[in-house]
Symmetry: C2
Subunit: 221 residues, 2 copies
C-alpha cells in the first residue's frame, strides 16, 4: 500500500493564520480599503489573484496590478514585523519526523512561496529530503488542484492514494478537484461544519490529534 499524505502549510503545520489575517487587514486599511477580519480569514489560502478579486468586490472597485502588488508587499512587511519568529503547531514537527522515520510517503503543497516559507520549513525540521511544492511551481493556486497534483506526481503515487490535510476550505475544494480524499484540521480557525461541507471526511483539532488517529485513516500504525 502506497498511501500518501499531502499537507498544506499555513494553519495546518505552522501557526500563522491570525498574523496573516491581521497583516492583510492592516495593509488594506492603510490603502483606504478596510475589510472585516472574518472575511479576510475565510479567504486565507486561496490564490492571490482570487484574493485580490474578492477584495475588489468588497471595496466596490477594480484594483490595478500596481495596487495589488503594493498591498501584497505591504502585507509581507507587516507579517514579518508581527511574527519575526515562526511557530510549529502542536504535534506538527513530531508527526513529520515520525512519517520520515517510518517511510510513510508525504509532501507539502502550499500557496506560499520561497523565501517566505523557508522559516516555516525550518521550524518544522523539514529539509531537502521532503517534497515541497510552492506557489512558484504551478500556474494556478488553490482551489485549483495544481499544487496537490504536482506534489502527487513528485511523490510518484496515484491521486487515489493521497490524503490531503488542510485547515481551509480551499485545501478541501482543491483536493476534491484533484480527486483526492481530504482531512480537515481546526487549527486554522474554521468551524468543523465548514470543513466537512467542503469535503473533509474527517476533522481533527490539529496535527497532534491527526498523528494519534492515523489508524482511522487506514495507515498501518
Amino acid at each position: 500500500m502506497a498511501r500518501a499524505l499531502i499537507f498544506d502549510l499555513d494553519g495546518t503545520l505552522v501557526d500563522t493564520v491570525y498574523a496573516h489575517v491581521f497583516a492583510w487587514q492592516r495593509a488594506l486599511a492603510e490603502e483606504g480599503m478596510p475589510i472585516d477580519g472574518w472575511r479576510i480569514h475565510r479567504r486565507i489560502g486561496m490564490s492571490g489573484g482570487l484574493f485580490a478579486r474578492a477584495v475588489a468586490r468588497e471595496v466596490g472597485r477594480q484594483l490595478s496590478v500596481e495596487e495589488t502588488e503594493a498591498i501584497q508587499q505591504r502585507h509581507g512587511a507587516i507579517f514579518r514585523e508581527l511574527l519575526p519568529e515562526r511557530r510549529a503547531l502542536p504535534g506538527a514537527r513530531a508527526l513529520l519526523e515520525d512519517l520520515r522515520n517510518r517511510g510513510i510517503v508525504h509532501g507539502i503543497a502550499t500557496s506560499g512561496r520561497h523565501p517566505e516559507i523557508d522559516l516555516s520549513l525550518e521550524v518544522l525540521g523539514v529539509g531537502a529530503e521532503t517534497v515541497v511544492i510552492d506557489r512558484g511551481d504551478v500556474a494556478r493556486a488553490k482551489p485549483e488542484p495544481d499544487l496537490f497534483l504536482a506534489c502527487q506526481a513528485a511523490l510518484g503515487v496515484d491521486p487515489d492514494d493521497c490524503y490531503v490535510v488542510g485547515d481551509a476550505v480551499w485545501d478541501l475544494l482543491a483536493a476534491r478537484r484533484a480527486r483526492m480524499l481530504s482531512v480537515g484540521l481546526l487549527s486554522g480557525g474554521y468551524g468543523a461544519d465548514e470543513l466537512l461541507n467542503a469535503g473533509a471526511f474527517r476533522v481533527y483539532d490539529d496535527a497532534e490529534e491527526l498523528h494519534k488517529s492515523l489508524d482511522e485513516l487506514g495507515f498501518d500504525v
Copy 2:
C-alpha cells in the same frame, strides 16, 4: 409589544476580534506561553478569569494573580498599538441609529470595560442615551447571564422579550442562561454551526444583514 435587542460589542458591532486574538497571542508568547491562535480565538468574549484558567490548562501550570494581571496589561498595550483606530462593522452604526429613531428598545452588554470600550462606542455613534452594561457593572462575565440580565433590567423589559445578538458561543450560552432567545453573527469569525449549536435561532453575516432581516425576528418594520 416591547421586544428588545441586547448587543454584544466586540465582533458584533466593532471589528476587533482579530486584533484581540493576535494581541493575546503575542502577550502570551512574550511570557513564554505560546498558544495556538485558533484556541485563543474560540475563547474571546469569555470572562477574563475563565480565559486565564483556560490558558493555564493549555500551558500545563497555574498562573499567579500577578502573572494574569501582567498578561492582561500587556494584551491591552499591544491591542492599542495594533489598532489605534476602531472600526464599526458594516451596518452597525446605521442599525443602532435606526433603532434609536424608531424607538426600538435596545442596549449593549459587553465583557469589555471602560475606558477600553469608549472608542468603540464613539465610532458607533452611541451616546449617553443608550444603555451600556460593561464588565465593571456585574460580578460575573459571560457565559454567566449577569451582563444580559443587568441590561434587561436597565431596559425595563422581560427576559422573554429580549433577543441577544452576539458573534461568540459565550454570548449565546449566556443568553440561554438568561432565558433569552439569541441571534448569531458571523462577523466574529465563528462558523455558523458553532453558533446554531450554542443556541442561536438565526445566523446572519453581520449587523447589516441583521438590519435587513428585522422582520424575521418579529419586529414590526
